[in-house]
Subunit: 166 residues, 2 copies
Amino acid sequence: MKLPVSTEWVLHCATTLAQLEPGATASAAQLAEYYDLPAPYLAKQLQALVRAGILSATTGPRGGFRLGRPATEITLLAIVEAVDGGTSPYECREIRQRGAGALPPEDCRNTCVLARKMADAHEAWRRSLAEDTLADIIASLPPSAPARTRARMATTGRGPRSGGGS
Amino acid sequence: MKLPVSTEWVLHCATTLAQLEPGATASAAQLAEYYDLPAPYLAKQLQALVRAGILSATTGPRGGFRLGRPATEITLLAIVEAVDGGTSPYECREIRQRGAGALPPEDCRNTCVLARKMADAHEAWRRSLAEDTLADIIASLPPSAPARTRARMATTGRGPRSGGGS
């Protein structure tokens, strides 16, 4: 049972974007440089976060990624499921209805107790990850972290793009 | 994030073995026939359960698998981890220490907050699966289930092997 290696990438990139000035963006190339990651593959993962509404992407010379909604409304669960999907790691193929021991269909109207327990565990995992938002993560960092993040980001590519005059 | 397909197999096979008469065994071939599973691959998974102490295997003409300890002492977690290992699905490669944004080592003495939250979620999953033992699962089945299981198992291969005279 393994999450994609990009799970770490997107958790950190979203945390970094949450520390930029409001409206500022960072490109995939900048984020890749910031964490020494392969830019094309990172860009694909960031697009998955855009599809999930976690990030928004703007194009053009000042374009890049920024949070798609407030950091208080982005849970770690949402970020993880954006790149891994939301399905349970346990696959029930109803083997209880197969073979010499097959249960008759009328005994299988309810979900198998083993599948239910596996689903309960997945829900416990999901609830745990839904407890914390990006805002909670930022609040747990040293107070100097956001300023440092912005200063370091300014050394990548063209630096963060300010949000324009709008 | 996917568990091996054999997770369903071993959960059901362990539940079936927990319903046999004390001391009775079933071979991998019988269990494969019982659930219509590929016997050689199932046998490998059952051996993983033996290595974990969940099953014990006896050889010889009356040989086969039975529980390696009481059903009250076998959690679903132990069964799942016997075939999937116990490592967290989240892999932290410390990207916070890489690239243009690299944090200095002295700021990374503690585990990254994101890795901690992912570990918390994995522990929540593990705790959930540790709540139920095979005995609890059997207790949740219809009262007629064990007798039915034993009767059906008797139709496979040579039927269950009674525990000998000891």
